[in-house]
């Protein structure tokens, strides 16, 4: 099962390799990992997408917590949360399909960032599935390149 975990770590030299080394050393998988400072510049927030059964997830959470540099681990999987990822997609265009591509971008609420005689660069934000969906739809036109940020996650505030 897919899990989205936030890991709050002390913002120090080598901390990223402590986390990634833990995953590789113990054979846990990482689908994506993002990291940046929080409001407190001494603390960074990592968002990790991983897969595994309950037993593996229990180990991942405990092993992360055991690292001295880890302040807090939060698995969002079983609670309300918002997940977003940004992707930039470079897709080929020809005279006859330009309109079609532009309407797809609009449907997905994307933006055109750059236009060249042969390609559009599209910005798209959304949950992972949305990015995968537009990628599939654009694929027949000829995708030249994709850059994705990996997912970010934040909990929904109680209503």
């Amino acid at each position: 099962m897919r899990h989205t975990i936030s890991v709050f770590v002390t913002n120090e030299f080598g901390v990223l390799s402590r986390i990634s080394g833990l995953f590789s050393g113990r054979g846990f998988n990482i689908e994506s990992l993002t990291v940046a400072e929080t409001m407190d510049p001494e603390i960074s927030r990592m968002t990790i997408i991983t897969r595994g059964n309950d037993k593996i997830l229990e180990q991942i959470t405990k092993q992360l917590n055991k690292l001295i540099s880890v302040i807090k681990v939060h698995d969002f999987t079983n609670e309300k949360h918002i997940e977003r990822e940004l992707a930039m997609i470079k897709v080929s265009h020809k005279t006859e399909n330009r309109a079609e591509i532009l309407s797809i971008v609009e449907i997905f609420r994307g933006r055109i960032l750059d236009i060249s005689p042969k390609s559009y660069t599209i910005e798209i934000t959304g949950a992972c599935e949305k990015i995968e969906a537009i990628t599939e739809i654009l694929r027949p036109f000829g995708i030249k390149e994709i850059a994705r940020t990996g997912s970010l996650v934040i909990g929904r505030s109680p209503k």
């Binding site: 002390t10 030299f13 080394g21 180990q59 001295i68 302040i71």
Partner: protein, 569 residues
């Protein structure tokens, strides 16, 4: 202590060790450490000059295991640092408190492939509890304070601190912090009262309970509490290799060690138990054998300070996270009245009887006829007898290690030192040296194999230099015995590269180092030579016991089999 004084980093480093009450460090100098060694020259820290940095780490490890205090190592950058890796990994696997200081090239050169530069923080990240690179002299005292704190609290372990040369030569005002505050590191010591009660209720309802105790009992100094707990409830008790000495080896409730080379009784009991009480142990694969068939009828209670140990390999029904000693105390306090305990003990007497029967039917044994070559087990029984069970025993790895575990009876904690988790050949001699330095008057014996001893034999020179009467008892079978045994049993006796017919003359080798050397070829001489060795008090002793090369360690659970499927003698 000197406070608010401006000092060099090297001076501050030594002041920090003094503040941590470090008496002895194990080290080896080098270019980037010159400023520190210059300060060391004036005392008061005792520095043991080793012959190889791996030796330094195992010595610190042995020192820590017997004394309970953190072992301290000081080595230079590059090769000095990389030579420590096996020792650090050994300590990490067995949760030994230790602080390793490595010199590093000057800050400005880091990352430039400078002479003797190695990214030791990167290299040791997965085998230390935590590690640091000191980037600013102002952080030096805080980092050292934290390093000792982390190494010795919670589940102990090695911490490495990498210090660039310019930090040692720089200056700042010295102030050692009184307190450590690491919000992200808060080990749990006290057991949850609800869980303690639940565990006790479950234990008291069981009919076939077993205690399975590990190294955590020793690390938490809980052997008194464990003994009391097992006695009050009359619980049959087994320990792991790391747990030996945590429960008296000659105690009537002790079933011996469990696992791959465990006793018949312990392995059968763990297989049939309905209530497995795991205390400071971690369900290592050498203990469990085939995991799906391990303790198949048992509800599992697990006491451990490390939450990651719980339900890692075996599903635990009642976990109690906490310090073993504290939790056992809580459990003892919560025990019911004497009458009820008596009733419980009576209720499990049939089970105890069954275990007793297993013990007598298949006790640890070997050919005691006295015919043929010296039996290695006989040597260990003699060592036990002649030291009255009061020696500190270290081992190398292989058959020597398993026979030592089986045939020496450890009644007291912190008297059996062995590389359990990593299985590091070459551990025993330096560990014995470390132990002897901690307890100069104790008899310390390394039970060795002829293969393993050659991995750190150079440390004999260290023992000679500091006049340490460590005894190295080599069970010399001229082969890599344990591997040979597997080849005999599972690889059609194809003895691929396990014969070590070329070896030094250990007596001459000992003498060339300035140690004493003996060679024993007849069983009847074993006792006499051990007695002579025990009289020597001013230098190390190597005894070359020429033992039966085809002797095997039994019982044995073949890898991947359930632990009740043992090959017996």
């Amino acid at each position: 202590m000197t406070k608010n004084k401006t000092m060099t980093g090297a001076e501050i480093f030594i002041q920090c060790l003094i503040a941590e009450e470090v008496k002895t460090i194990f080290g080896f100098p080098g270019g980037v450490l010159l400023p520190v060694y210059d300060v060391l020259y004036d005392g008061p820290i005792e520095h043991i000059l080793v012959r190889h940095e791996q030796g330094a780490v195992h010595m610190a490890d042995g020192y820590a295991r017997v004394s309970g205090k953190p072992g301290v190592v000081l080595v230079t950058s590059g090769p000095g640092a990389t030579n420590t890796v096996t020792g650090i990994a050994t300590a990490y696997m067995d949760s030994i408190p230790m602080v390793v200081f490595t010199g590093q090239v000057p800050t400005a050169l880091i990352g430039n492939d400078a002479f003797q530069e190695a990214d030791i923080v990167g290299i040791t990240r997965p085998c230390t509890k935590h590690n640091y690179l000191v980037k600013d002299i102002k952080d030096l005292t805080k980092i050292i304070k934290e390093a000792f704190y982390i190494a010795t609290t919670g589940r102990p372990g090695p911490v490495l601190v990498d210090i660039p040369k310019d930090i040692f030569t720089g200056t700042t005002v010295f102030n050692y912090p009184d307190k450590v505050s690491i919000p992200s590191y808060q080990p749990t010591y006290k057991g949850h009262p609800g869980q303690v009660k639940k565990a006790l209720d479950f234990i008291l309802k069981s009919k076939r309970p077993v205690v399975y105790a590990g190294g955590g009992v020793l690390l938490s100094d809980a052997s008194k509490e464990l003994t009391k707990f097992s006695e009050k409830l009359g619980l049959p008790t087994t320990t792991t290799l790391m747990g030996l000495g945590g429960f008296p080896g000659t105690h009537p409730l002790h079933m011996g060690m469990l696992g791959m080379h465990g006793t018949y009784a312990a392995n059968m009991a763990v297989t049939d138990t309905d209530c497995l009480i795991a205390i400071g142990s971690r369900f290592d694969d050498r203990v469990t054998g085939k995991i799906a068939e391990f303790a198949p009828y048992a509800g599992v209670v697990h006491i451990d300070i490390d939450p990651t140990s719980i339900s890692k390999n075996v599903k635990v029904d009642i976990p109690i996270v906490g310090d073993v000693k504290k939790v056992l105390k809580e459990m003892i306090t919560a025990l019911p009245k004497a009458a009820e305990l008596k009733k419980f003990r009576k209720g499990i007497s049939e089970w105890s009887g069954e275990i007793q029967k297993w013990s007598t039917e298949h006790s640890l044994t070997y050919d005691r006829s006295g015919k043929g070559n010296i039996k290695p087990q006989y040597v260990i029984e003699k060592l036990y007898e002649l030291t009255k069970g009061d020696a500190i025993i270290t081992t190398e790895v292989g058959q020597n290690q398993m026979w030592a575990a089986q045939f020496y009876k450890f009644d007291k904690p912190r008297t059996f030192l062995t590389s359990g988790g990593l299985g590091t050949m070459g551990y025993g001699l330096p560990a014995a040296i470390g132990a002897q330095i901690a307890f100069p008057r104790k008899t310390v014996i390394d039970i060795a194999g002829d293969g393993s001893i050659q991995m750190n034999i150079q440390e004999i020179a260290t023992a000679v230099q500091y006049r340490l009467p460590v005894i190295v008892a080599i069970l010399n079978n001229m082969v890599l015995g344990m591997v040979r045994q597997w080849q005999e049993l599972f690889y059609d006796k194809r003895y691929s590269h396990t014969c070590m017919s070329v070896a030094p003359d250990f007596v001459k080798l000992a003498e060339s180092y300035g140690a004493a050397g003996f060679k024993v070829t007849e069983q009847e001489d074993v006792e006499k030579v051990i007695k002579s060795a025990l009289k020597i008090k001013d230098r190390p002793i190597i005894i070359d016991f020429r033992v039966e090369p085809f002797e095997g360690v039994y019982p044995m659970v073949p890898a991947g089999q359930p632990i009740n499927k043992m090959l017996l003698v």
